[in-house]
Symmetry: C2
Subunit: 142 residues, 2 copies
DNA sequence: CCGTATCCAACAGGATACTG
DNA sequence: CAGTATCCTGTTGGATACGG
């Protein structure tokens, strides 16, 4: 039953990819995939965006509590780069003790939507992947 | 005009994420995002899948030609891990010289669809991101 | 509270040489 | 042709200490 990414749907997709590749700089390596990876392929960016989507406007340490395992340094670094790319906004309040709040921009919300779809796919496919992996390891263990 | 991920759409998404987080193991860090990153956050996996989607069933060196800059070693490593996860199939022909062909499985095709959506978003948003970056760098250069 | 600065270990991944 | 095997470097990111 999982054999149904309908054939024609797949062919449609192939055509689109072809346009994508051939319309661009063809084979000199232009590809937004590389850019995606450079920006969001790191360990924490997607998690930060997902959590900001979940929490809405959030303070630094509140966010940190929700991203299990992240160090202070990496949360700072990650938030800065997301801010630089216009995906989140950062607002500092001149108080003592200081308060800083982060929030997704509309651009960031658009990315969140994509991440969400990807996460959904991953959640749905995880069992199948784990099974495949088990099969592979069985077959390749001597 | 880009201020339109409609509010209610965003709120809907927040609810879904909430269910996602709170339905799972809550705050102990369960999250398919981490798994996604572990598997596809590397430098080459997404490119391999995208190119296999583009080319269809393909031989090792043919694939290599299309993925600009990949080393023989990394193509092997990448393809092995994708095969292990059941995302691509590998068929060896007992010929001299040897021939090996790779192809997306239906599971892999499902992932391709997600990657495609993400790539589309990236392509559409790239300008806006680059602008934001320029603004940020202007503001933070003393 | 919200960072920055410094140091350092682990690992991804490139270059190269060799095989069935 | 389609890989292994080995070596070696650059980068990622954790730990720790300090600052506004």
């Amino acid at each position: 039953m999982n054999i149904t990414i309908a054939e024609n749907q797949m062919i449609e997709l192939q055509k689109k990819i072809a346009v994508f590749f051939e319309g661009g700089e063809t084979n000199h390596g232009f590809c937004p995939i590389k850019d995606i990876l450079d920006r969001f392929g790191d360990k924490w960016s997607l998690l930060a965006i997902l959590n900001l989507g979940y929490l809405g406007r959030t303070r630094f340490n509140e966010l940190r509590k929700h991203i299990a395992g992240i160090s202070q340094r990496m949360l700072t670094v990650t938030l800065r780069s997301l801010e630089r790319d216009g995906l989140i906004s950062r607002q500092v309040f001149a108080e003592v003790p200081p308060r800083v709040e982060y929030e997704l921009t509309s651009l960031g919300a658009g990315l969140l939507l994509q991440i969400w779809n990807l996460a959904q796919w991953a959640a749905q496919s995880m069992d199948e992947i784990l099974e495949a992996r088990k099969r592979y390891d069985m077959a390749h263990a001597e």
